[in-house]
């Protein structure tokens, strides 16, 4: 892999979403040698997916938020940062060596500081039948829309909760896509619980956008509220969606597509694999890296910015990216950054306002996080909730022993789609807390790479001695 200019960088940033773009731009502008890596074909991450390539060139289609990304991208382009797309980071070790796979070859790069900005992923939504072809995440549909101009054209149900669900429904409809039914799983009473926090929220632009979004979707889609049970049914592919509401009403609809979404959670695999400590967030119901004010993890020199640090949205992600980059540079002794750091901190404080409200309002209900019966939990290894409960009965006290018994989390996704469910399910089955249960121990490679990529890396004599004996 000769595309890189160097083997050594002041700062390596992983992930070219808002946080990574902001971090790389800030660092490079301040004179640091900076490398930004992302596994997708183009920059933008989730919010700005397809920023440079979307077929939706009519600016109204994706809205101002989307095109704001171009301003940040401009800053990145003029900053002098080196950017490599389709580059997957599969390893970061405590000495800040970064394993990068690109175009079928791998290379190890030495960083002086690292910002992990790998963002969020959608929370697992383990309902009966969620592995059937035709069941996808709402985010998947959004990705298809932004990067390929593809919208659902057959009978479609969208289900779940959270601001993104509504935003996505709105985007699909505006683009002429089809949504027949929305199953809203927000628990009864959740809104009331969140109201006291509304003040912080009201002063952010979220609120105005939120209302408009709700109105738009409500006028076009049949909305079923307080849904307490959803099942995807079909033989080899989705044929119908069946549901039940808090009032005991049942319903069903023949459909080709079911889009699921109940919020996003930090994608912590890479950060965890470095050994950085993570804590359970009882409000957002997920793991978060333990960070200092500037976003530095418990592994010196490794920072986490963006949604990977805790869900905050674009504004927070941009601010966190700049804070982390500037703090990293300050620690490297690059002068003249302090003023900027405090400005970035102020930007972050402002962006953070209103978040707690959304978290309370959209806390997903237990039955959609902790499945019963033989619902599949681990999609890759096809392990069911009932298998996990029996493993707890014979003595599995946490995810790692569970892995040994059942192979949960050992498939190609490496626990990304089952990890949270496993932690919460085991906590409930054992009558303890998610902290007590813990998470899978993750190690490099966090993404698969070919054996030859691994074998082609430089040989160290001391490593040869450890193997050839």
């Amino acid at each position: 892999m000769s595309v890189l200019r160097s083997d050594n960088y002041d700062l390596v940033v992983v992930g070219a979403g808002p946080a990574g773009i902001a971090a790389a731009a800030a660092a490079a502008k301040a004179g640091a040698t900076t490398l930004l890596l992302d596994e997708n074909a183009g920059p933008g991450g989730q919010v700005w997916r397809g920023l440079t390539s979307t077929p939706l060139t009519n600016r109204d289609m994706l809205g101002k938020d989307f095109w704001d990304g171009q301003l940040e991208l401009e800053k990145l382009r003029s900053s002098g940062a080196e950017v490599l797309q389709r580059a997957t980071v599969w390893s970061i070790d405590p000495s800040l060596q970064v394993g990068i796979s690109h175009g079928g070859a791998s290379r190890i790069v030495q960083a002086r500081r690292i910002v992990i900005a790998t963002g969020a992923m959608e929370r697992p939504f383990p309902i009966p039948g969620w592995t059937l072809p035709g069941v996808m995440t709402a985010g998947a549909a959004q990705t298809m829309l932004k990067s390929s101009g593809l919208v659902p054209s057959e009978p479609t149900v969208i289900a779940g909760q959270g601001p993104l669900l509504w935003l996505l429904a709105g985007q699909i409809l505006r683009m002429g896509g089809r949504i027949d039914v929305m199953l809203d799983t927000t628990p009864k009473g959740a809104f009331a619980a969140a109201l006291p926090k509304a003040f912080g929220f009201l002063t952010t632009p979220y609120f105005r956008k939120g209302l408009k979004m709700l109105r738009e979707v409500r006028s076009k889609v049949r909305i079923i509220k307080h849904v307490t049970r959803i099942e995807a049914q079909g033989d080899g592919q989705l044929e119908r969606v069946v549901w039940e509401t808090a009032g005991g009403k049942r319903g069903e609809m023949a459909s080709r597509l079911l889009l699921l979404h109940q919020g996003v959670v930090p994608n912590v695999n890479l950060a965890m694999s470095t050994g950085a400590a993570h804590d359970w967030d009882g409000l957002q119901l997920c793991w978060r890296p333990r960070l200092d004010d500037d976003g530095q993890t418990t592994v010196p020199g490794i920072y986490v910015a963006g949604d990977g640090a805790g869900i905050g949205g674009v504004g927070v992600a941009l601010a966190r990216g700049r804070v982390a980059a500037r703090a990293a540079l300050t620690s490297l002794g690059k002068s003249g950054q302090d003023a900027d750091l405090s400005a970035a901190r102020a930007e972050l404080a402002k962006a953070n306002r209103g978040r707690e409200f959304l978290d309370l309002l959209y806390k997903p209900a237990e039955q959609f996080r902790i499945p019963e019966g033989d619902t599949i939990v681990c999609r890759c290894e096809e392990v069911r909730a009932s298998d996990i409960r029996s493993a707890v009965d014979i003595g599995a006290s946490g995810p790692n022993q569970l892995k040994a018994y059942l192979r949960t989390g050992m498939g190609p996704c490496q626990g990304r789609l089952c990890g949270l469910t496993v932690t919460e399910l085991m906590a409930k089955a054992r009558g303890t807390t998610p902290e007590q249960i813990g998470y899978y121990r993750l190690r490099a490679p966090v993404k698969p790479l070919t054996l030859s990529e691994l074998a082609d890396l430089p040989m160290e004599p001391e490593a040869v001695k450890a193997v050839v004996r």
Partner: protein
Amino acid sequence: MTPMFSHIPADQRPTLEIFVDGQSVRARRGDTVSAALLASGLDVRRDSAVSGVPRLPYCMMGVCFECLVTIDGVGNRQGCLIPVAPGMRVEIQRGKRELGK
């Protein structure tokens, strides 16, 4: 089969030809392999490596590994992260990968 997804009329990108299990398919430049497959109207379900049940892409963002396909002879690649290229040969996977493929 009618595809679950259709291109919006505003999408005017040029098309290119790929082959899915030998069959010619028009894809739009810039699409990922998975997006092109889902828009093709073909039955592109793969069989899982564990029990052989049918699966389709789930997340389209690189985390779930449901989109695994054989591309130009190399198996188990994440179709949702790889853009289509002219003449690309895509094969739908049937169960476990074969060594050397």
